[in-house]
Structures are given as C-alpha cells and as structure tokens.
C-alpha cells in the first residue's frame, strides 16, 4: 500500500530532480548570458517547489518561510542581471 509520504518520495521528488537536471543542462549550454539568467531564475523557482514538497514530507510548515524568502531573492537577481546586460551593451 502506497502512503502519501512514499508517493512524494518516490514519484514527485524524482520528477522535480529530473527537471532540475534538464534546466542545469541549459544553464551549462546556453549560448548567451540571458539564457543562463533565465535558467538560473527557473532553477530557483523549482527550488521553491522542492522546499514545498520537502515540508510536506517532513510534516513541518517552518520550511515554507525559506521558500518565501527564496521567491523574493530570485526576482531581485533577475532584475540586477538585466540591468547589467543593458549597461554593458550601452558601454561598448
């Protein structure tokens, strides 16, 4: 008999890990800097999901605080990177 906890450990977590690996392939390959920034942003977004599933497995809602902070930081890093891209383009 499959409990909910086993379902999370053996089905959901592998799917999320597989998608993290795929995103990391794009992060390594990405021809331009912008591709890497998007891959990084998506990596952090999936990380928020992983933390949510982990808080379900551990049965402890404290981990959701970490997810909230991570969701805010991801936005800031993307804004900073795009600002940098525009500035670099204007300089040369």
């Amino acid at each position: 008999m499959m409990t909910v906890e086993n379902y999370f450990i053996y089905v959901i977590m592998p799917i999320l890990s597989l998608s993290m690996i795929l995103i990391f392939i794009r992060f390594l390959k990405g021809p331009a800097v912008a591709d890497r920034v998007v891959a990084l942003d998506l990596l952090i977004t999936v990380g928020v999901g992983v933390i949510g599933v982990f808080s379900l497995i551990a049965d402890d809602p404290v981990f959701l605080d970490v997810a909230m902070i991570l969701a805010l930081i991801a936005f800031l890093s993307t804004v900073a990177f795009s600002n940098y891209l525009i500035k670099r383009n204007r300089d040369d």
Binding site: L22, T45, F75
Partner: protein, 124 residues
Amino acid sequence: MTDILIMILSTVGAIFVLISSIGIVRMPDFYTRLSITIKAATLGIGCILTAAAIHFAEFSTTTKVLAIVFFLFITSPVAAFLIARSAYISGIKLWKRSVVDELQDKYDNKNEIPVNPCKEEGEE
C-alpha cells in the same frame, strides 16, 4: 479524500514543472524558451504549494502559501519583461522561422525577418 486531492494537485504541479524544463532544453530560440518556461513553472509551483496548504490546513500556513503564490504571480511577469527587453537590446536574434518582427525599426537587431509582411490595415 484529502490525500487524493493532495496527490492530484502535486502530480499536476510536478508535470507542469517537467514540461517547462523540457521546453527550456528543446525550444529553438531565447524568446520562445522564455515565454514557455516562466509561466508553466509558475503555475506548477502554485499547484504544489496549494497541495501543501491543504495538507497542513492551518490559518498561518495558508496565509504564507498565499503570500508566496502572490509574490510569484506578481514578480515573474516583470522579470520576464525585463530580461526579454535587455536581451532584445543586446542583440539576441529571433528564430529564423519567425514570421514578423515589428520592433526592428526601433532598435536595429539585424534579424533577417521581414518587418511587416502582412499589409498594414488602412487608417480607420
């Protein structure tokens, strides 16, 4: 009953995340990749966190989850807009099978895509 609901929601969320990650590897150019990934991932994370809120069923946890989903839904379009604009200005080209590019006359992006193949509709 609650268990089945949690399972369905988290499975749907995980599948959306998987689709967006396959999309970011497979899609041909930067703009199509961006427009697939950001939204599918946001929807998937929303489903997973909703499953967490249903599992805990507490007032404080539900508020936290609502705050996270709200942040994601507000910030991810803004981030996508910023990175797409700076990518276009810094000269990342569109896919060669794109149909039309009407932004070309504002910034010179050096695409080989026609500016306006469809006839401009008359001034009404």
